[in-house]
């Protein structure tokens, strides 16, 4: 190793100027296969106050469990029109939402398949570097054997699993409490 990774700095409060051209709240296009889901939630601070200056970025596989990336060696079909990337801001109420498809399963470090999940980065003013977390899916039997969920103490796992909204098919709720009671699980990657 000859160089060292550049130091992170906060996105600050004005990131919209640089980020808004690439906002993508719909990861799907007509013809992309998979179960369509609308995922909505809020980012809240340690006092439970909404975070109006936050960004959520999504990275995910397609419904076959294949990433649109050359380092994915799996013999699974890619899909035109599905890049797997999303970027959404929070509004004054700290709310964000995006539309996507439920990804397929991808392999984990032990060769076993992971449960379907989205990789998530959270950026806000006040965060000196991003927070990394994941969104898992409710009523998904494979959650029980997922290696990453198993790394988390059982009482905190539910912060990683989106919830169904009663009476509204295709809609999920997933909130990010940054600090304190109900604090979301964040990963060191």
């Amino acid at each position: 190793m000859s160089l060292q990774t550049t130091t992170w700095q906060t996105v600050g409060p004005f990131f919209r100027i640089g980020f808004s051209w690439l906002y993508r709240d719909n990861l799907t296009e007509p013809g992309v296969s998979g179960e369509r889901l609308e995922i909505a939630g809020r980012i809240l601070d340690g006092d439970g106050k909404p975070v109006p200056d936050g960004i959520v970025e999504i990275w995910q596989a397609n419904s076959h469990g294949k990433y649109a990336h050359p380092d994915d060696p799996q013999e699974k079909p890619g899909e035109l029109g599905f890049t797997g990337y999303g970027r959404v801001p929070t509004d004054d109420a700290g709310s964000f939402h995006f539309t996507t498809i439920k990804p397929g399963r991808v392999p984990g470090p032990d060769g076993k398949l992971q449960a379907p999940h989205l990789a998530v980065s959270v950026f806000t003013r006040g965060l000196l570097r991003r927070l990394v977390t994941r969104i898992y899916f409710p009523e998904e039997p494979s959650n029980a054997e997922d290696f990453a969920l198993k790394l988390v103490e059982p009482g905190r796992r539910e912060t990683l699993i989106a919830k169904r909204i009663e009476g509204r098919t295709g809609e999920l709720e997933w909130n990010v409490k940054l600090q304190g009671e109900g604090e979301a699980v964040f990963f060191d990657i």
Partner: protein
Amino acid sequence: MKKIPGYRRYVPGTQPPHLHPPYVSSIKRAPLQPLVALPHTLSEITGPLFERDIADVKACDLTRQHSGEPLGERIIVSGRVLDENSRPVPHTLVEIWQANAAGRYLHNIDQHHAPLDPNFTGSGHAVTDSEGRYRFVTIRPGEYPWGNHHNAWRPAHIHFSLFGPAFATRLVTQMYFQGDPLIPFDPIFNCTEDEKARNRLISQFDWETTIPSQALGYRFDIVLSGRESTPMETHAHGEKL
């Protein structure tokens, strides 16, 4: 299936902690529970890729995005994006945003009593070339006051956002200017313990990229996390998408 190496973890002390009380906004937003160490999987060693033509000429010249020229000192900000193994990171997206010459952002929550410039948005993006190089034409941003503490002023800076080849290589940072007297007093600049790591955020004046009678050049090289061990063969195999 063959095992694919992950990306290197940060060297201790060279990255900011989440909680840094002198930066007051971190106090209610930093997580207090320890992070859960996650081995890298396919989800972390892949990441969003963008078309090479996603950035047009105007996107990397912030002085030509409006009918007139912005006020302020025109500068060239350029450098290379490398990984920790000193390899260039080609064709990766670099986004920047900044205040105008008067220290005012084109943003509704910026109430600093300084003029907006109708010819300056302060937003740009570029894609690195095959050698990892990027180049922006912009104006030198002004310093500005903020509410962190009494008489708090941010040193002049440009925000940078980079993706690199993987989810694990994402980076958002800020570039500062050599000789700025506010730098030693800035709680955001100072959030990283390692002094050398901090000082690498300061761009260097550069004769080579300075254009006679037009613009001073500043050089800012950026390093993204590199592969843990010998990288897998470069992906000569064609992309399916």
